[in-house]
């Protein structure tokens, strides 16, 4: 049984632009399915508007899905759970965001921030909690003299270590990491990614690692799901998908990434993403796809098995 199982997940936002304007529907997540096994990392990669951040919020039940066929975590149906049940299951879930300076309470000390999830759970007495906080601080590489400091006095890398320590203190089984290293310098990013890899082995934790950066995903993830306009277009082992991408969008994305020591790659995906407020009855990538043919403009390709992975493209029918 997978740790997290998601089948046909949808999230539509209704947007009212002005008092008299007709509300429009923004299809942020438009039918997404995936599994995450215990101790595994699924990388969710995509550009702005792909819906990757919304997927992260949905699986944590921070927002309600518009509809979903199955959303199960540790065998518990998250769609039929009451608030008390949700609170109970939440201790096995955690989250780390991109910008630690805005996700950490600036008026709280480092120690209090890391301790807080334990307090909310009613765990132990202050001494026991302090012991756990100090242990986790040590583990994530935070000097104990930072215990009484405030987030604003820390470097970006240290702040992200605080966020990770807070996320791990309840010994969760699952973490959503939404662009956790995107605001960090290269050398700091490397140390945070290495730390997250080590902690995964130690805590046997699963990550949903959300990023726009394919190289980071390649380094940290076991599997990768490539999202475009609210849909997963390709899903498979990270090494096979990034070595030999099948979906034209994945191919274009990969060729677009600037690479060290590769000059003169001029290929580009033309155009920009079309509107998310239109209902598409055809492949959403067809307007930018260099291989699009009649079929692509006539129907929507579903995710189908091609070899060892899943691809949503009529080229592989």
């Amino acid at each position: 049984m997978p740790l997290l199982e998601v089948i046909d997940l949808y999230k539509y936002f209704t947007i009212k632009q002005g008092l008299l304007a007709k509300p429009v529907i923004l299809r942020a997540v438009d039918g997404v399915s995936f599994n995450i096994e215990e101790g595994e990392t699924l990388g969710l990669v995509g550009e702005s508007g792909s819906g990757k951040t919304t997927v992260g919020k949905l699986v944590l039940r921070l927002i309600e899905p518009t509809r979903v066929k199955k959303l199960e975590f540790m065998g518990v149906d998250l769609t039929r759970i009451d608030d008390r049940g949700l609170r109970k299951i939440r201790r096995y879930m955690s989250v780390v965001y991109q910008n630690p300076s805005s996700s950490l309470n600036p008026w709280w000390t480092v120690g209090k921030i890391i301790e807080e999830p334990l307090v909310r759970q009613g765990y132990g007495d202050p001494d026991e909690r302090r012991e756990l906080v100090e242990a986790i601080m040590e583990r994530v590489g935070l000097p104990l003299e930072l215990y009484n400091r405030y987030p604003g006095e820390l470097s970006g890398g240290q702040q992200q270590r605080v966020a990770i320590a807070r996320a791990l203190i309840t010994k969760p089984k699952f973490m959503v990491a939404d662009e956790p290293t995107s605001s960090l310098d290269a050398s700091v990013r490397a140390s945070i990614l290495n730390l997250m890899k080590e902690l995964q082995r130690e805590f046997n934790i699963s990550y949903l690692f959300i990023s726009h950066d394919l190289a980071t995903i390649r380094y940290i993830a076991d599997k990768v799901a490539v999202m475009y306009m609210g849909e997963i277009v390709e899903l498979g082992r990270v090494d096979t998908v990034l070595r030999e991408p099948l979906h034209p969008y994945t191919q274009g994305l990969l060729k677009s990434v600037p690479k060290i020591g590769k000059k003169g790659e001029r290929f580009e995906i033309k155009g920009e993403i079309p509107s998310l407020t239109i209902e598409y009855k055809h492949c959403k990538f067809s307007s930018r796809c260099p291989f699009a043919f009649e079929k692509c403009r006539a129907g929507r390709p579903g995710l189908k098995r091609v070899g060892d992975r899943l691809v949503a493209c009529f080229l592989y029918d």
Binding site: A190, R218, P258, I260, K263, E268
Partner: protein, 333 residues
Amino acid sequence: MGLHVQDRSVQPGIGNVLEVENLRIYYYTDIGVVRAVDGVSFSIGRGEILGVVGESGSGKSTLGLAIGRLLPNNARIVDGRIVFDGRDITRISEDELRKIRGKELAYIFQDPHRSLNPVMVVGDQAGEVLYYQFNVRSKHTILARVIEAFRKVRISDADKRYHSYPHELSGGMKQRVVIATALIGRPKLIVADEPTSALDVTIQRQLINLLMDIREEYGTSIMLISHDLGVVSELSDSVSVMYAGKIVELGRADAVTEDPLHPYTQALVRSVPRIDEAVESLYSIPGSPPNLANPPAGCRFHPRCPYAREICSREEPPFRKIGDRYVACHLAG
């Protein structure tokens, strides 16, 4: 094409659009004098793209701002020369400088909002260069030239987009407007500070290709400031690597990024995840960058350098020529 770094960075020559010599820029702050740029020399040839790569606080953006004397009030150029097309920017009057900015020297910043006026249609903004710098008074001529520039940077429906406000455009389109505006004066040099860093991967690629086309077509020189080794490696002819206010390595882009000589460049390259190869563990540089109000003696990288010897903490390494590049390290070569 000015790829011969060794001939330029010490000898001034007519082939260079920009020559920077021993430049020092200090910030006067509450915590003391911050030596953000501390003795930097390089040059950019005509039609050359020079990449300036470094992490936060390395001084790369300060360096870029100094070229057009756009530094904040608490910063001062305390030493050195910035020779732009034969004129020392550090010595000319504000009037002379105004004639250069926007016309011969243009800027592209990471955030197009910083360059665009939110309450003015983008076409009129681009046209201001023609009005103020070239004294074009015909509305018709301005419109035609702006639309031509918009087409050049591949803005679709350029004539309609002329009348758009910035908020009506996507981030990529706004950055195209900024690039078009920069191009209208046919500048000799564009200083581009993280021009694609806020954009999505596919849009970033489109703009990288656009900048390469612009250089090919107009021979514009570009000073490309970026934290992204991939972007710098693909776009630049030569690369200078900055650490703690100094250039530690300068040479051809492929040589510096694929076979770095300075220990900092080596560490930086090994800390970046690669898309084309599986890496088991990334290198992370121990410690953190120095406080530039009180930088370490000797080589500024020595407290974090795995190869540091006694001399490194005592003497500042000279910027030496090794093969066809320059390296500031006692141990290199």
